[in-house]
Amino acid sequence: MSHRELDDMLGTAWRKPHFVANPMLRWGLVAGFVAYLIAAFMTIEVDWGRVYEGLDRGAQFVLAFTSPDFVSRAGDIWEGLLESIVMTVAASVVGILISIPIGLGAARNIAPMPIYLICRGIVAISRALQEIIVAILLVAIFGFGPLAGFLTLSFATIGFLSKLLAEDIESMDRVQAEAIKASGARWSQWINYGVQPQVMPRLVGLSMYRIDINFRESAILGLVGAGGIGATLNTAFDRYEYDTAAAILILIIVIVMALEYLSGIIRARVQ
């Protein structure tokens, strides 16, 4: 019986089964997607005349990078950078410190249901509100300046880090933690010995990544009045001082790259 089956199958071609089995549906989906794509592109209106005029301004902007002016507004740039760095470091430290307990609470495998729901709620709120919107709100409350920026970045860090930390805890090796529990450890010891060693490398890596993001965000937040290098950049644009703006952008790029390099080294060491 089974030999008959085998004989029938020998010599016939084998193909991986399709993800969507029904060929009508499969080709219908592909055709629909292509049609949508074409329709979507057709809705984009390009005013080529405006583009032609704009090219000039774009060229000026790009040319400014060949002669960035670090000097004439050196004082402003330095002040802005310092403010951004202070904002970044303070917001990252505060954000990370708050994220850790929330991350623990948002991990389903170690937190009881009510705490889990509360922490997940905090994470959801923090992630739902975009930084710029939070910054505008906080600038309205606290006025222009780095305090609003610092609060915005701390708030955004909580959503980012708690969520990713919680997910790392949820995917940890349960047996290692179980072994610590079996020795009669209390809850705090269980976290310290059973959970922390498993998630530490990722926590450090994510924190470094978040510091990097916070610095970049601090440049954007200045545009809505939340202080930092972004405010200096905004002023430079307003004055059409593209060479100063170019200098600022170059500094931001250099600092971000330096942070990237640093975080690479740190992550390699904590593995």
């Binding site: 079996a182 020795s183 009669g184 450890a185």
Partner: protein, 264 residues
């Protein structure tokens, strides 16, 4: 010393993993728990120290019913039950010494353990145990640098430093090669004898159980179907525990086994 009375575990899915288990383990006795996968061996061991919550029944350890203890008392009771795991369950990113000392967590306060400032007596005992299993030179290595057999030795030290009355051993050799398996089983049974510990050892390898353990309990579908000395474990009994198979080769001690041991 340990007595299980009508111990029942029903999982949320409705599976009855343990059907009214009655078992008595006197002080200092080492017993092997055999049975097919899914028979409830692991569940039974985990019900004893309540890593798995039993549905009903009692677990009497020196007269205390573990099933009725509150969180703090349970934590204290767990100190007297050392556990050894199949995949070693060492915390991989901690050092060997930290792993061994983590067996003392039930005895020391949070700050001492957080700062890794254990009492000198604990540290000395950790050194002594590591020396006993031949791993003293590995004390400051990270657990993930060790081989399987070495990890299991560290696991044994972690269980023993708790100063337990009872060892719960879950498939100690399932991830090890035959030679290391024997060494680990010998080490566990020797240490139990030295310290007068009782132990329940879950084990897949029937021949290994017969070689080292004086009492064997067979579990099938959550019920005890065999309880006796290794010599009483006949082919018929194995069929009753595991189902139909040719058992003769499993229970006849093989001459090559003796050769391997002599060569060690």
């Amino acid at each position: 010393m340990l007595r299980l009375q009508k111990l029942i575990k029903t999982y949320k899915t409705g599976d009855q993993a343990l059907k009214a288990i009655d078992l008595e383990v006197p002080a200092g006795q080492v017993l092997a728990l055999i049975g097919p996968s899914g028979a409830g061996k692991s569940t039974m061991i985990r019900c004893i120290n309540r890593l798995v919550e039993p549905t009903s029944g009692s677990i009497l350890l020196d007269g205390t019913d573990l099933a009725k203890l509150g969180a703090t008392q349970l934590r204290k009771a767990r100190r007297s039950m050392g556990m050894i795991f199949q995949e070693y369950a060492l915390v991989e990113r901690l050092t060997v010494m930290e792993n061994v000392l983590s067996g003392r967590l039930g005895y020391v306060g949070f700050w001492r353990s957080f700062l890794r400032r254990y009492p000198q007596s604990d540290v000395d005992e950790a050194f002594r145990l590591l020396d006993r299993v031949g791993l003293l030179h590995m004390a400051d290595k990270r657990a993930d640098e060790l081989s399987g057999g070495q990890r299991q030795r560290v696991g044994i030290c972690r269980a023993l430093i708790q100063n337990p009355k009872l060892l719960l051993v879950d498939e100690p050799t399932a991830s090890l090669d035959p030679k290391t398996s024997r060494q680990i089983m010998r080490l566990i049974t020797e240490l139990c004898q030295e310290r007068g510990l009782a132990a329940i050892i879950n084990i897949h390898d029937v021949a290994l159980a017969q070689m080292f353990v004086p009492r064997i309990v067979g579990l099938r579908f959550g019920e005890i179907v065999f309880d006796g000395p290794p010599t009483a474990l006949t082919a018929d009994k194995l069929t009753e525990i595991y189902g139909e198979e040719d058992w003769e080769a499993t229970i006849t001690p093989d001459d090559t086994d003796e050769d391997i041991e002599a060569a060690e």
